[in-house]
C-alpha cells in the first residue's frame, strides 16, 4: 500500500463540490490509479471509527468542502486535520464560508425560531426544537449542536491550501492533484488559483469602455443581456474585477455576471468593501438623492457583495444589536 491516501469530506455545503471530482471525467481514472480514496461519503460507505483508527497523518491529502456550522462538522474537521498531511479547503464554502455563510446575517436564535416556529410552512404547536441530547426508550442519542456562526474551514483548523470556486473547476482540481502527486507545492496557505482578477481572462474584457459612469443598475433578470459586452457598462453588477481568476470566466461565458465565488485576490482584505468602493466611485451622480436613486437597484448589498465571503469578511457576521 504505497499509494498516497486521499479523503474527501463534506460539511455545510450543497454537495456540489463532491460531485466535481466526477467532473474530472476520464482523468478520474488516472487519479484513482495513483491514489487510494479512503473517505468519500458521497460515493463510498465509511465509518467514523474507521477513520479514527487510522494513524495520525496517514492521509496524504484531505479535500474538505463545506463551511463549518455544527459541532459534528467541527469534530470531523479536527479529526481530518489530525489524520491528514495536507488539509485542503475545497470550494467556496470551506474557503470563505460560502452561501451558508450568509446565515451570519442572523442570530442563531433567530434562525432556529424562524425555521422551527415562525416560517409559514411550519406546523409545530409544541414549539419543539432539536435537542443535542434526548432520551428515548432508555437510549440517549446525541445530535450535533448548531454553533453561533458559520465558519470557513480555516477559522476552525489550520488549512494548507485553498481550492476556490463554487464549485472548483476541474482544471484547478486536476492541477492541484498534479501538484500534490508531484510534490511541486506552492507555499502553505496559498490559494491554488491565479492572484489576478477575473477580468484578466474574461472574453468580454476588451468590450469595456474606459469611461463607465453608472446611471442605473439592473439585476440580471431585469434586462436582456448583451452576450458579448462587458456586464458593467450594461449596468449589471459583475464581481469579476474583485474576484480571483482561474475559473476560465465560465459565468460570463454563460452570459451571467461573476458573483465572486473565487474570493478576493491576496491584496484585498475584504472583497465586498472593495467591489462596493469601485462600483460606487464610478457612479455618475453627484447629489445624494440621485446617488441613492441609482444605488437603490442594488437592493441587497450584503447578498450581492458577500455572496460567498460573509463568513470571512472583516465584519464576519451580523453584530448583535440587542446586546449593544
Amino acid at each position: 500500500m504505497s499509494k498516497p491516501k486521499v479523503a474527501f469530506y463534506w460539511c455545510a455545503s450543497c454537495g456540489g463540490c463532491e460531485e466535481t471530482v466526477v467532473d474530472l471525467a476520464e482523468d478520474i481514472l488516472g487519479v484513482v490509479e495513483k491514489v487510494d480514496i479512503v473517505l468519500w461519503p458521497v460515493a463510498m460507505d465509511f465509518k467514523y471509527r474507521d477513520l479514527e483508527a487510522l494513524p495520525d497523518r496517514a492521509i496524504t491529502a484531505t479535500l474538505l468542502n463545506g463551511a463549518i456550522r455544527s459541532s459534528e462538522q467541527e469534530e470531523m474537521a479536527v479529526l481530518l486535520r489530525r489524520k491528514s498531511q495536507y488539509l485542503i479547503a475545497y470550494g467556496s464554502c470551506a474557503h470563505l464560508g460560502g452561501i451558508p455563510g450568509l446565515a451570519n446575517q442572523f442570530e442563531r436564535e433567530a434562525i432556529l425560531r424562524f425555521n422551527y416556529e415562525e416560517a409559514p410552512s411550519v406546523v409545530n404547536e409544541a414549539r419543539t426544537r432539536p435537542q443535542t441530547v434526548t432520551e428515548e426508550e432508555g437510549r440517549r442519542p446525541h445530535l450535533p449542536e448548531l454553533r453561533h456562526v458559520v465558519r470557513s474551514l480555516d477559522q476552525v483548523v489550520a488549512v494548507d491550501y485553498y481550492l476556490p470556486g463554487c464549485p472548483p473547476t476541474p482544471n484547478l482540481t486536476r492541477a492541484a492533484f498534479d501538484a500534490l502527486l508531484s510534490g511541486r507545492l506552492p507555499p502553505k496557505g496559498s490559494v491554488l488559483a491565479p492572484d489576478i482578477a477575473l477580468c484578466d481572462e474574461c472574453p468580454r474584457k476588451a468590450s469595456r469602455p474606459a469611461d463607465v459612469a453608472f446611471t442605473q443598475f439592473f439585476r440580471p433578470h431585469q434586462k436582456v443581456l448583451d452576450e458579448e459586452k462587458c456586464f458593467l457598462p450594461q449596468g449589471v453588477v459583475c464581481m469579476g474585477p474583485a474576484t480571483r481568476s482561474g475559473c476560465g470566466a465560465q459565468c460570463p461565458g454563460g452570459n451571467m455576471p461573476c458573483t465572486g465565488c473565487f474570493g478576493p485576490t491576496s491584496r484585498v482584505r475584504d472583497q465586498g468593501a472593495k467591489i462596493l468602493s469601485s462600483l460606487c466611485a464610478n457612479l455618475g451622480a453627484r447629489e445624494e438623492k440621485e446617488i441613492n436613486r441609482v444605488l437603490e437597484n442594488i437592493p441587497d448589498p450584503v447578498g450581492t457583495f458577500y455572496r460567498y465571503g460573509l463568513a470571512s469578511s472583516r465584519l464576519r457576521r451580523r453584530a448583535d444589536l440587542t446586546n449593544v
Partner: protein, 666 residues
C-alpha cells in the same frame, strides 16, 4: 510589496514643545511606553525637537544606533514634516523613512484631561511605529519653474505686485476685469491718516504699469481656466471687447466729445452712479490704459449688444485716420504659460440695502461711504462740493460705522478700515461743507501707525463721537427741530441714555466683504476660503500670502479687509514669494504618486476616476498605466481598485491598515 527585508530599527522622539505639549501630555511616559514597542531601538523625549540641537540629535542617533526609521511626535506635519525629513536625510537615511505624529494641534491643544491626552499620544505614536516599519525609500522629483508670473486683479495690490516683479526683471501679465486698473483706491480722495491725495500716489504707479516693458496689461479680461501645477500653469483668459483697438487709440478722447449724445446721460459706474457718462467714455482721466471704450448696452450703434445702423458714427469720424474704433471687435480667448500666480482680486463693499433700518434707497440723503468719497473728490461729480441729491448742502451729517460689519446677521467680522475711513470722511466732509459731523461707532479701532493721533485730531476738530450702534434712521419727526430731517435714534452708551439726532445727510460706512464671485475664483485657482469667504492663507502667521496650492499667492483685500499700507506690504511679500520660487528654478514634488502593480487585471475601473487623466489603458499589456508626471497623489484610484492592484507611495494600504491597527490596539 512594501516591507523591507532589512531589520527595522526605529528611533522615536517625543517633543515637549516647551509647555505646549508637555503641559497636557506626559512626554517621558510616552517615551517610556514607545520604548517597549517592537522595532523601537531608542525612544527619547526632548524639549524642542524642531530646534537645531533637536534635529542634530536625530542625525547623531541615526548614525550611532544604526537607526533606519525615525518617528517624531510633535506638532502638525503640515508645519514641520519637512524639517524632520531634512534631518533624517542629513543623518544619512532616505527622508521617507521618517513619519510624524501630531500630538500638539490634534492632542495637547484640544484636550483638557492629561491622562486622556497622554493615552491618545501613545495611541498615535503606536500607529506611527507600526506604520513606519512599512516605509520604503522614495525619490523626490524636481520640476522646473516657468519664470513668468500672472497677477490677477489690478487694484493697488496687483499693481504693486506686478511692478515689484517686473522691476526684478520678470515677465508679468496683469489681468484686470474692469476697463482700467486702479481698483477702489482710484476712487478715493485722500488716504488716512496722512491725508495725502490718493490719485497723487496711485496714478504714477498706474502709468508705470502701463509703460513697463516687462508687464503685459490686459484689461476687460477674466481668467476662465487654470490647469497644471506649481511652476507650470496654463491659464486661459477671456478678453472682452472694448470696441477700441488698444494699439491704435491715442487717448485723445475726441470721440467722446463728438458722440451723438451731446450730454452725458448714463450711469457713471466710476462715480458710484452720482455722475453721468456717454456710451463712449473713459472711466476717469488717469485711466490706465489711456484707452476709451464703448458700452454696447447704450451705444446707439448697438441695440442690445447687436450691431445695427442707428447711429451716424460721429465718433468714428472724429477718430479719423487713427481707425481705433472697431465695432466688430469680438471676445478673444488667450492662453498663457506661467510658473506662479498672484491673486489680488480685492473686495466689494457691503450692500447697505441689506441694512434697511438705515434707509438707504428710501431716503435720498443717505449715502454710502464710497459715494461720499466721490462727493468730496475734486474730480468727482460735484467737483468736490458736498451737494446732496436734493441739491441742498448739509448742515449736519451723521456717519454710521460698522454697517455690514460686526453683525451676525450680515457680516460678522470687523472690516478693519471703516473706523479710519469714517474719520477721514468726517474730516473731509467737515472741511468741504462746514457741517456738524457725528460719528456713531461701536468701538474706535485705530491701531495703525499715526492712527490714534488722527483720532485725536478729529476730536480737536470738533467732530462728535457718539458711542452707540444706530437703531434706525427715519424721517418721522417728534419735535419741530426734526421736521424735514433724517433722524438718527441711538443710545449714547457712554452717557447712558437714548438720543435722537436730526441730520441732513447720513453716510453709511459699509464694511468690506469678499467679491461676489470669490467662490468661483477660489475654485478656478484651487484655493480655499475662510468661513467669511475671503481667500484662506496657508498659515495665518507663517505663510500669510501662500495658499494651499503651491505657486499661488494672495495679496490685498481678497484675503481679508486691510488698509493700503498693509495691502502694499502684502503685495510685496507675495511678489517676493513668487521670486523665491522662480529664482530657485525648480520645485520638489511630494512623491505620493500612485502606481499600478503587476497583477492588474486591466478591468478599467480606475480609468474614469482620475481627474487628471493620469491613468490610461495599455493596449499591448492590457493593463492600466499611471503617468507619474500627471498623478497628483489623491489616491482615489487606490481606494477604488477592486483587486487591490494600485499602490500609492506614502499611503500604501499596508501603511494605513497598520495605522488603524495601531490606534485601536490598546
Amino acid at each position: 510589496m512594501v516591507s523591507s527585508s532589512q531589520e527595522v530599527r526605529i528611533g522615536f522622539y517625543v517633543c515637549h514643545c516647551g509647555h505646549n505639549i508637555a503641559s497636557m501630555v506626559d512626554c517621558p511616559e510616552v517615551a517610556r511606553y514607545v520604548e517597549t514597542l517592537p522595532g523601537v531601538v531608542l525612544s527619547r523625549d526632548y524639549k524642542y525637537m524642531c530646534s537645531d540641537p533637536g534635529q542634530e540629535l536625530v542625525q547623531q542617533d541615526i548614525r550611532e544606533f544604526a537607526l533606519n526609521r525615525v518617528v517624531v511626535a510633535s506638532c502638525s506635519p503640515l508645519l514641520h514634516e519637512h524639517t524632520f525629513r531634512k534631518a533624517t536625510a542629513a543623518g544619512g537615511l532616505n527622508p521617507f523613512f521618517f513619519h510624524m505624529v501630531n500630538i500638539r494641534e490634534h492632542d495637547s491643544w484640544v484636550h483638557t484631561d492629561r491622562a486622556e491626552a497622554t493615552a491618545k499620544a501613545k495611541a498615535l505614536a503606536r500607529a506611527a511605529i507600526r506604520r513606519v516599519a512599512h516605509h520604503r525609500p522614495l525619490e523626490v522629483k524636481q520640476v522646473p519653474i516657468h519664470p513668468d508670473v500672472l497677477v490677477v486683479g489690478g487694484g493697488i495690490a496687483g499693481i504693486h505686485a506686478a511692478l515689484t516683479l517686473a522691476n526684478a526683471g520678470r515677465k508679468v501679465t496683469l489681468v484686470e476685469r474692469e476697463p482700467t486698473i486702479g481698483g477702489h483706491m482710484a476712487k478715493f480722495d485722500k488716504t488716512f491718516p496722512t491725508l495725502d491725495c490718493a490719485a497723487c500716489i496711485l496714478t504714477p504707479k498706474m502709468s508705470e504699469v502701463g509703460a513697463h516693458e516687462n508687464i503685459t496689461l490686459w484689461t476687460c479680461s477674466d481668467v476662465v481656466k487654470m490647469d497644471g501645477y506649481v511652476g507650470n500653469y496654463t491659464v486661459t483668459v477671456r478678453r472682452r471687447p472694448r470696441y477700441i483697438d488698444e494699439e491704435l487709440c491715442t487717448g485723445c478722447q475726441e470721440c467722446i466729445s463728438n458722440c451723438v449724445y451731446k450730454e452725458p446721460k448714463f450711469v457713471d459706474e466710476f462715480n458710484e452712479g452720482l455722475g453721468k457718462r456717454k456710451p463712449i467714455y473713459i472711466p476717469f482721466p488717469q485711466s490706465t490704459p489711456q484707452v476709451v471704450l464703448i458700452d454696447p448696452e447704450v451705444c446707439l450703434n448697438f441695440k442690445r449688444g447687436v450691431l445695427t445702423d442707428r447711429c451716424k458714427k460721429t465718433c468714428v469720424e472724429a477718430c479719423g485716420d487713427r481707425k481705433a474704433i472697431t465695432f466688430t471687435q469680438r471676445e478673444e480667448i488667450r492662453e498663457l504659460q506661467v510658473g506662479t500666480i498672484i491673486v489680488a482680486t480685492g473686495f466689494q463693499t457691503f450692500d447697505v440695502k441689506r441694512a434697511p433700518q438705515y434707509g438707504y434707497g428710501s431716503f435720498p440723503n443717505v449715502y454710502t461711504a464710497l459715494e461720499a468719497e466721490r462727493l468730496v473728490n475734486a474730480s468727482g461729480p460735484t467737483g468736490g462740493e458736498v451737494i446732496l441729491r436734493d441739491g441742498t448742502q448739509p448742515k449736519a451729517i451723521g456717519i454710521i460705522h460698522c454697517v455690514g460689519s460686526r453683525d451676525k446677521k450680515t457680516n460678522r467680522w470687523c472690516s478693519r478700515v471703516c473706523c479710519m475711513y469714517s474719520m477721514k470722511l468726517a474730516h473731509l466732509l467737515k472741511e468741504h461743507s462746514g457741517a456738524e459731523i457725528y460719528n456713531f461707532y461701536i468701538d474706535i479701532r485705530a491701531p495703525g501707525k499715526s492712527y490714534e493721533e488722527f483720532y485725536d485730531k478729529l476730536n480737536e476738530e470738533g467732530v462728535h463721537f457718539i458711542r452707540g450702534r444706530v437703531g434706525e434712521v427715519t424721517d418721522w419727526a417728534m419735535t419741530p427741530e426734526e421736521e424735514g430731517k433724517l433722524i438718527i435714534r441711538v443710545e449714547d452708551t457712554l452717557a447712558g441714555f437714548v438720543r435722537r439726532i436730526p441730520v441732513n445727510m447720513v453716510v453709511l460706512s459699509a464694511g468690506l466683504e469678499p467679491q461676489a464671485d470669490a467662490q468661483e475664483v477660489r475654485r478656478l485657482f484651487n484655493m480655499s476660503c475662510g468661513t467669511e469667504g475671503f481667500f484662506l492663507e496657508r498659515h495665518p502667521k507663517l505663510a500669510p500670502v501662500n495658499t494651499f496650492t503651491d505657486g499661488i499667492f494672495i495679496a490685498g483685500c481678497c484675503q481679508g479687509p486691510r488698509d493700503i499700507p498693509d495691502t502694499v506690504a502684502q503685495a510685496g511679500a507675495a511678489a517676493a514669494e513668487a521670486l523665491v520660487l522662480i529664482d530657485r528654478g525648480h520645485v520638489e514634488q511630494e512623491p505620493n504618486t500612485a502606481y499600478i502593480l503587476p497583477d492588474c487585471s486591466g478591468c478599467k475601473s480606475c480609468l474614469p476616476l482620475c481627474p487628471y487623466t493620469a491613468i490610461t489603458f495599455d493596449a499591448t499589456t492590457h493593463r492600466a498605466v499611471i503617468n507619474e508626471a500627471l498623478c497628483k497623489g489623491c489616491g482615489t484610484c487606490v481606494g477604488s481598485c477592486p483587486s487591490g492592484s494600485i499602490g500609492q507611495n506614502l499611503f500604501e494600504d499596508e501603511e494605513v491598515f497598520s495605522e488603524i491597527e495601531g490606534v485601536l490596539s490598546e
